[in-house]
């Protein structure tokens, strides 16, 4: 079974996000970019499936700017076998929408015929939480979102999902889409020899035109602003003073 893992290049999760002064977006010039953390977990899971003999080949694919090559190389260094870059944006400020990404990925799925598509539940930049579900819809495939445990069975997969108030276990037929949550695994670091080896692994370069997919956005960004900031309040000297303030000043207890 081939496993396809879509990965996204996003602002590194440790970088402080700054809104641009002209309110058109977030400042992405000269900031550290990394693989979306949820996608890293998806890559790790695919590698574990391969190590367990459940997956035959892992293909990482990214949709975005040319520099997404670096993100794909990270995936290859972790252990993926080959990569596909669909260059769909010219500048880092262009975020290709999940719907367009899903349509491109559907075309890749048609060509590659994977048994499983594993991807992060959301990207930490646009926070849409949508690409996996949309890809499942476009393909008419089953979906298991927010996975915290994945088990490949004879006729499909059993997935434990993080839901409100607890965990849900479902069975899905394969081929299927699985989106991963934080607790599924802890991704490995790529070793230096593997980073060197990854440079020689194949990477195919494509464009949306190659797949005949229109990636023009459906949402127009009106503005991006800083969130309303909260003023720091006061320090209290004791628990008794705190309870008194909560009761008599704030009136919340």
């Amino acid at each position: 079974m081939k496993v396809l893992v879509p990965v996204k290049r996003v602002i590194d999760y440790n970088v402080k996000v700054r809104v641009k002064a002209d309110n058109t977006g977030v400042d992405l010039a000269n900031v550290k970019m990394s693989m979306n953390p949820f996608d890293e977990i998806a890559v790790e899971e695919a590698i574990r499936l391969k190590e367990a003999g459940k997956a035959s080949e892992i293909i990482v694919v990214s949709v975005g700017v040319k520099q997404s090559q670096e993100t794909l190389r990270t995936g290859l260094a972790m252990g993926a076998d080959r990569a596909i870059l669909i260059e769909a944006a010219e500048t880092v400020d262009t975020d290709v929408e999940p719907l367009a990404v899903a349509k491109l990925l559907a075309k890749v799925v048609e060509e590659e015929q994977p048994g499983l598509v594993l991807l992060g539940k959301q990207a930490i930049d646009n926070d849409c939480n949508a690409t996996g579900q949309m890809l499942a819809a476009v393909l008419g495939w089953p979906q298991a979102t927010f996975a915290s445990k994945l088990e490949i069975t004879d006729d499909g997969a059993q997935v434990i999902r993080e839901v409100d108030g607890g965990l849900q276990t479902i069975k899905i037929k394969t081929p299927a889409i699985v989106t991963v949550d934080l607790r599924l695994n802890e991704p490995r670091y790529a070793s230096l020899p593997n980073i060197m080896k990854a440079k020689k692994k194949p990477m195919e370069m494509k464009t949306p035109a190659d797949y005949g997919v229109d990636v023009s956005p459906r949402l127009e960004v009106v503005k991006v602003v800083e969130p309303a900031s909260r003023q720091a309040g006061i320090k209290v000297g004791s628990v008794a003073e705190l309870v008194d303030k909560l009761k008599n000043e704030a009136g919340v207890i």
């Binding site: 996000v17 579900q133 949309m134 819809a137 993080e162 069975k171 127009e220 960004v221 628990v239 705190l242």
Partner: protein, 314 residues
């Protein structure tokens, strides 16, 4: 055109989060229909019919919809979509699972985690873990929306809508199958709807020590939350997690105990009305958002807080 709201329910009543989503769509000023599906869900459909702002309830009494699997639900909603310009659900785990699939089926972009509806086509939503707020205008004919409900109040009674029975579009249930559900049993209020939330962080040091948080919460009839650090360390279950990768809450009172206040945690609770922070590190970022800060060792302060609260209650 009208609005279709997907209701979550327990069979007898519409959920708190769906009631809040109903309030959120009010600015659209459009006729609002509520979809209630599931076996033996007549009482929930009747409840939906009594809500203010609801003009019709679409009711599907079908066992296949009792567990909220994305495939049949998305097919059901897509089959109803022709009559609606807005299709909305609360941004719960289930809402996010289903609605993005609906958008994919309808070939429109999803508007996820919307915090304000400005007009029929313009929406506000947080991005980058709430570190930026984006306003977007949709060019799609249909808008599929999930609403981040934390800051909305629940819709109240005051309507008398008709309940119309509908049928499922066909069998799409073969793609996935429900096996089991393991939900935490608790008498406490739900984290996302509680008036008071008490959360613990990594400073608690162990899952046994996390009971300190439980005891304070009990005195306030509060829900219990945790930082991601506490969850990752195994001190609290994952569904306690408050933050960008967990739940977003906005209670009247939020008490953070032993939580440093990482950006990802603040994104999940900074809309709370009153924030209290107890931390022994006076430089902890949590104090920058707290209305009342107490620099103290939580192992001394929390038991004392428990006692003081008891006095107040008594």
């Amino acid at each position: 055109m009208a609005v279709l709201l997907l209701a979550e329910h327990d069979g007898s009543a519409v959920s708190e989060s769906s009631l809040k989503a109903l309030t959120a769509v009010a600015p659209l000023g459009a006729e609002t229909h509520v979809l209630v599906a599931g076996g033996g869900s007549k009482a929930a459909a009747d409840h939906a019919a009594t809500l203010q702002g609801v003009s019709k309830v679409l009711h599907l009494d079908d066992e296949a919809f009792s567990v909220r699997l994305a495939e049949p639900y998305a097919a059901l909603i897509a089959a109803q979509a022709a009559n609606y310009e807005h299709i909305v659900a609360a941004a719960t785990a289930s809402g996010k699972n289903i609605m993005a699939r609906v958008a994919g089926l309808l070939d429109v972009m999803i508007l996820s985690d919307v915090t304000a509806i400005e007009s029929a086509d313009t929406f506000e939503r947080p991005i980058y873990a709430g570190n930026a707020i984006m306003t977007v205008k949709s060019k799609d004919a249909k808008k599929v929306v999930t609403v981040r409900t934390a800051t909305f109040s629940a819709a109240e009674a005051g309507g008398a809508a008709v309940v119309e029975a509908i049928t499922a579009p066909g069998d799409d249930a073969s793609l996935s199958e429900f096996v089991s559900e393991d939900k935490a049993q608790t008498d406490r209020p739900q984290l996302t709807s509680a008036k008071v939330v008490v959360s613990g962080g990594r400073a608690l040091g162990s899952s046994e020590n996390f009971a300190i948080i439980d005891r304070v919460a009990e005195k306030l009839n509060a829900a219990v939350g945790a930082s991601r650090a506490a969850v990752d360390s195994g001190y609290a279950p994952n569904d306690y997690q408050v933050g960008q990768t967990g739940k977003v809450v906005a209670p009247d009172l939020y008490i953070a105990i032993g939580i440093s206040g990482a950006i990802q945690h603040l994104a999940g609770m900074k809309d709370s009305k009153v924030i209290v922070a107890i931390n022994k590190d006076e430089e902890a970022p949590i104090f920058q958002v707290a209305d009342y800060g107490l620099v103290a060792d939580l192992f001394e302060a929390a038991p004392e807080l428990e006692k003081e609260l008891e006095k107040v209650a008594g």
